[in-house]
Amino acid sequence: MMPPKLDDPLPGRTGAIVRRLAGLPPRAHFALGMVLLFVVAGVLGPLLVPFDAAATSPPDRLLPPGTRLSDGAVAWLGTNQVGQDILAAVLAGMRTSLTVALVTVVVAGSVGLLMGLLAGYFGGWADGIISRLGDIQLAFPSLLLAILLAGVLGPSMLNVIIALAVTRWVIFARVVRGSALAVRDREFVDSARVMGASHGRILIHYILPSCLPPLLVAATVQIGLTMVAEASLSFLGLGVPPSQASWGSTIAQGRDYLASAWWIAAAPGAALALVVVSIGILGDLLRDASDPMTEL
């Protein structure tokens, strides 16, 4: 028996959230700040420093960071071989990367959630089919599958998302299936069945709440990995079309100039590394925090 705590200086949900945030380790604050910075930059950046993939400016080719351009502006991260501003390219790439990652994870997560619930809760042949399909797909390198799909579908942002979502849903389905399986035969679920609760009610009120925390952890980790995958596809020319900026394609442009104009590849590369590492840290923290929750 645990008596309720009464000496709570900051009552309510907001209070609890503030207190938990303050209690987090420094790396969490760093990661959280970094992710916030990137999101804001990705949303607002292209409005302030617009990027036009078609516009070229031959006089401004391959200028190092900090050089003043012919139009009077300063290229803080230098320019590429056709005279485009790298900062603008990185910010626009940020937006592409975020969009692709978020939409992919939402789509793959939803499909995975549905499949995982079906497989974990109902078991039987549904589980057999879904799990075998997942096994087969996981046995095949996911980037290779994405390359294949993207190559067939042709370069467009939608196709990148489809290709990546197809390769990612299995991971979510497995996480959800595991949690659903663990809760399915718990006594309090049986007690709802005895009460006459329908499958829908049990799924929504009993199984789903236990699946969400691990799903959230998996989604966080997958956002980072999807960003890398998108960059990889674009690097290979199978990602977003040339009219849209992507870190992958910018890095590809810089590949031939690594010795002379290192900033072309380094700037998007560093951005990608920073954001993926930060998201990874957040994922770990979420995992730690959700462990006692999954016990419930």
């Binding site: 645990m2 008596p3 309720p4 309090f188 007690s191 709802a192 009460m195 006459g196 009610r201 419930l296």
Partner: protein, 342 residues
């Protein structure tokens, strides 16, 4: 083999139609086999016939693995019977369309053994009780829900102002009261108690037993009371069925079974059950069974108890005894029942 037992119990207490009737019920589990093979079949319940009349309390006693909990899970529909019937007021639950079955579910409720595991930890007490009314609309009009929650909590001896607390804020005995309140919310006519007081301390157990007694008196609810504790069953039940390895070996009124146990297993159980008077040496015969219960995967031929029975003869190996009144006052599944075990 079901008829004699049923006929006997019917004639005992008038002709009221049984609320619940099990007819030659068999529930089997399939064990998980190796690669590509389906596993062996375990008949946890191997042909049980039993009835419970309105307002009556029937005890089902036996040791772990005898199938008594499987019977509970079969009746409430958590597992499917392999053969035989579960009849509620004469209607076969397996043959009912889903919609009607859902309605019938509210008539039979189950109280589990572990009050720590059987309540959803994410729901408040009020939400747990109201859920019953969400599932079965029409029992209580929505505008009276809060009032009804308070009166149910009061009914089971909890403070109504605790309705907004979560299960983990209560002790084991209090949680069992919550489970009972939740079961009562749908106004059931039969409550199956599966070892419902076994996890509780002595003093709290008495509180819950008294509560169950009160509810029967006030609401006329019937119980199928499953327990390994012979003292508790003696206290609360009108009739008792003793199970061994998936079958009923003896069934009858409480007085008859406890005073004149006729099956050697019942006798051994009663003599082994600890009681407050055990310190007075002598006066009672102690029958200590040798060995362990055989695996239900591979039950002995003939009488299932013969491997541990002190009376076993060749006939017990060859021929399975049916549940019959052989002059002991109630049905016994034994070829050589004793009328007076003193």
């Amino acid at each position: 083999m079901s008829t004699p037992a049923l006929a006997e119990s019917r004639t005992r207490d008038g002709d009221g139609p049984p609320l619940l009737e099990l007819v030659d019920l068999v529930t089997a589990y399939r064990l998980r086999g190796g690669l590509g093979r389906s596993g062996a079949e375990v008949r946890a319940v191997a042909g049980v016939s039993l009835d419970v009349r309105a307002g009556e309390t029937v005890g089902l006693v036996g040791e772990s693995g005898c199938g008594k909990s499987t019977i509970a899970r079969t009746i409430v529909g958590l597992v499917r019977p392999s053969s035989g019937q579960v009849l509620f007021e004469g209607r076969d639950l397996a043959a009912l369309p889903a919609r009607e079955l859902r309605g019938l579910r509210q008539d039979i409720q189950l109280v589990f053994q572990d009050p720590y595991a059987s309540l959803n930890p994410r729901m408040t007490i009020a939400a747990l009780i109201k859920e019953a009314w969400r599932i079965h609309p029409g029992i209580v009009p929505r505008d009276r829900w809060d009032q009804e929650v308070r009166s149910l909590l009061d009914r089971v001896g909890l403070r109504p102002e605790h309705a907004d607390r979560y299960p983990h804020q209560f002790s084991g005995g209090q949680r069992q009261r919550i489970s009972i309140a939740r079961a009562l919310a749908v106004r059931p006519r039969l409550i199956i108690c599966d070892e419902a007081v076994s996890a509780l301390d002595v003093s709290v157990r008495a509180q819950i037993l008294n509560l169950l007694d009160e509810l029967r008196r006030d609401l006329g609810v019937a119980y199928l009371f499953i327990s390994h504790d012979l003292g508790v069953v003696h206290h609360i039940c009108d009739r008792v069925a003793v199970m061994y390895l998936g079958k009923i070996v003896e069934i009858g009124s409480k007085e008859s079974v406890y005073l004149r146990p006729s099956h050697p297993y019942t006798q051994a159980l009663l003599s082994a059950a600890p009681s407050l008077d055990d310190w007075r040496d002598g006066g009672r015969r102690e029958i200590v069974l040798s060995g362990d219960v055989p695996s239900p995967l591979n039950p002995p031929s003939g009488c299932r108890f013969r491997t541990r029975c002190r009376l076993a003869q060749d006939r017990c190996r060859d021929e399975e005894p049916t549940l019959l009144d052989r002059g002991t006052g109630h049905p016994v599944a034994c070829h050589f029942p004793e009328t007076d075990p003193s």
